[in-house]
């Protein structure tokens, strides 16, 4: 299934931000914007919702904490109790360091795995990109086109909003 895109190339992030607002006001749906670095304010301009990753991170951390406490209390308290250093079997103060470390461990790795999964990022042999300059110094606004799209009007709109170039690109797998 190939998709056709009109690519507006921008040179400056501030121009891009205004362009996004104007293009959206003109009723054109922006497929995605590619930039070489995170542009501040682009989330609001594009209407990207705030990521819910922090919530996931919190629950993953709680999972880690629960696991750490269970592990220590079960192994040293119930499964094979031993007197060590005259401490009670379940010596909670001594369990704090491991509980903390495992909390961090689960938070971090759980969240990073979640991030790569939901973003569909994984090692691949070839990475198709719409414009190779989008990882260098250009900001690329991709607008998906169908047979109804008037490229000329789109070009005008993008040009009027400061795009330095407008290109067309067809992608089979994207």
């Amino acid at each position: 299934m190939s998709k056709r895109f009109a690519l507006g190339i921008f040179e400056d992030e501030d121009v891009l931000l205004h362009a996004i607002e104007n293009v959206r006001e003109a009723g054109v749906k922006i497929y995605e914007v590619f930039s070489p670095f995170p542009v501040h304010g682009i989330d609001d301009a594009l209407g990207i919702e705030r990521s819910r990753l922090p919530i996931a991170a919190f629950f993953l951390g709680m999972t880690g904490l629960a696991f750490a406490l269970w592990l220590q209390i079960y192994t040293l308290g119930f499964d094979w109790p031993m007197i060590i250093g005259g401490k009670p079997h379940i010596a909670l103060p001594a369990f704090i360091p491991v509980a903390f470390e495992l909390t961090v461990f689960f938070t971090c790795h759980g969240m990073v795995i979640t991030f790569y999964t939901i973003s569909n990022l994984y090692p691949r042999w070839k990475t198709p990109v719409l414009d190779v300059r989008s990882t260098d110094d250009k900001f690329v606004m991709a607008i998906e086109m169908n047979e109804k799209t008037d490229l000329n009007r789109l070009t005008q709109l993008l040009r009027a909003n400061g795009a330095s170039e407008v290109n067309e690109k067809e992608m089979t797998k994207f």
Binding site: P38, I42, A57, A91, A94, P97, V98, L121, V129, Q156
Partner: protein
């Protein structure tokens, strides 16, 4: 558009554009390795050989190859372990703590500092494993199901806390560093010419395209990782210090150890960051990214932490006197005036007196002086660990078992060998990975350059650029679709 601060120096000099940043950082990744790099790598590989030989001797003949004896059961092994972990901490501090404090100057140095963290922790982890005596049973430190009557690990032991702390710290630092690398790999991937480089960097870049949604998540992830790494980095050295502080050995039995070790770790870590950065910026011509301002700022942090360490040394003495415990008092008097007085004196000179030179502006901004200073601090911090471990052990409660420790050639070989391992890894990193975080530097570029990026495009909004070739179609034209290639 251009923000010029009257107070702050620019963080990136030379009036760079975004494209210049990409060019400058990718240069050494794409170029053939130069002769200086090859020479440095050869030296590092030689010492790596020394490391492998020493490890072979240790594994084959046992711990008897080291200079340990019945009284001094820990010496160079744990000294080096603590020293390396400490060096690792600066990377996390630069990347995580300074991110939370919104310090923009971290952008140029965080990548290399985090790489340094990873490699330092790898070097550190060698020592606890090797000093076990039977390293092939190293998996016993993990709470695994077993047939020894289900004998679990001892969660009350600081040594086990260490296992959890170091493994968590290493893996978290690794994913933090790698996640930061992904966008830069994408940049290199899109510039790559050769087929091997194309595939390699495509695999490494995880198919990153830099879409706005991904960037938004990426920033969230970075922030949370920084948030959990900050207490983590403090906890790691706290737990390392508890290996000593939870015992009853005079000289170790001290409540000041956790903060004191953490300060020392940051201190030695920044010294190592400075050492590496001063070389890196010259070799890879990155003077515009790692400016004198960065060096001065790192120097200031080194001075502050060095002063904290100095206060801790004095506090230890005061508390020893104040406690009125004669064993404790003897341990400290012996440290300063006993047979290891020279180690104590080196530690005091290197860690407390020399960093005070940073008060002078001329020293802060001088590259050769800073370099010498950073080496001195590294030596001083090594002596600090040595003094804490060996002088506290070598004279215990029984005068009949008082001995001196002297390292064997294998002890020295392993230590020098880990330096070789560290520099081998760092040189390989510097060649194949981007040394400076391109994406982050581009983020701060517009607000910190001395004369902003010059754009070939438009400068305002709603400003008509040069007329496109296909212009002239009325705006209300019926939908037509004409390719004009």
């Amino acid at each position: 558009m251009q923000h010029v601060s009257p107070v702050r120096e620019p963080l990136v000099t030379g009036g760079k554009t975004y494209h210049d940043v990409t060019q400058d950082i990718c240069r050494q990744v794409e170029a053939k390795p130069n002769i200086r790099w090859m020479a440095a790598l050869s030296v590092a590989l030689f010492f790596l050989g020394v490391f492998f030989y020493s490890v072979y001797r240790t594994l084959w003949y046992g711990i008897g190859e080291w200079g340990l004896n019945k009284t001094v059961g820990w010496a160079w092994d744990i000294t080096n372990f603590v020293w390396w972990v400490g060096i690792g901490h600066a990377g996390t501090l630069i990347s995580a703590v300074l991110l939370l404090f919104r310090q923009k100057w971290r952008s140029s140095i965080n990548r290399a500092a985090e790489a340094m963290t990873i490699f330092a922790v790898i070097c550190a982890a060698m020592f606890p494993v090797l000093h076990m005596g039977r390293p092939w049973l190293a998996y016993w430190v993990f709470p695994l199901q077993n047939t020894f009557g289900s004998l679990w690990v001892n969660f009350n032991s600081p040594l086990l806390w260490d296992v959890f702390a170091i493994s968590t710290y290493f893996t978290v630092s690794l994913v933090f560093w790698y996640t930061g690398l992904v966008p830069d790999f994408a940049t290199i991937r899109d510039r790559a010419k050769g087929p091997i480089a194309k595939v390699a960097y495509s695999l490494l870049s995880f198919g990153w395209k830099g879409s706005a949604k991904h960037w938004s998540r990426y920033e969230t992830v970075s922030l949370i990782l920084a948030g959990v790494s900050t207490p983590l980095v403090l906890s790691v050295h706290t737990i390392v210090s508890m290996d000593f502080a939870t015992s009853v050995v005079p000289g170790w039995h001290t409540t000041i150890f956790p903060p004191y070790f953490v300060a020392g770790a940051i201190f030695s870590g920044f010294a190592m960051v400075l050492t590496l950065m001063l070389i890196t910026r010259v070799v890879f011509k990155l003077e515009d990214y790692i400016t004198l301002e960065h060096i001065a700022l790192m120097n200031k942090i080194m001075m502050v932490t060095g002063s904290i360490v100095g206060v801790a040394y004095i506090t230890e003495f005061f508390i020893a006197w104040y406690s009125q415990v004669e064993f404790e008092q003897y341990a400290f008097i012996n440290r300063a005036t006993g047979p290891y007085w020279w180690a104590y004196a080196s530690m005091m000179t290197c860690n407390v007196i020399t960093p005070q030179l940073v008060w002078f502006r001329r020293v802060r901004y001088s590259i050769p002086l800073t370099f010498i200073l950073s080496i001195i601090v590294n030596i001083g911090m090594w002596f600090e660990r040595f003094v804490i471990i060996v002088t506290s052990l070598h004279r215990d409660y029984l005068p009949s078992s008082w001995v001196m420790f002297s390292p064997s050639i294998i002890d020295i070989g392993i230590y020098v060998g880990t330096l070789g391992l560290f520099f081998t890894l760092f040189l390989l990193f510097a060649k194949f990975f981007p040394v400076v975080n391109m994406a982050e530097v581009k983020t701060i570029l517009k607000y910190t350059v001395d004369n902003g990026p010059t754009y070939t495009g438009v400068h305002g909004h709603h400003e008509q650029a040069h007329q496109p070739a296909t212009h002239g179609v009325p705006a209300s034209a019926p939908v037509n679709y004409n390719k004009h290639e």
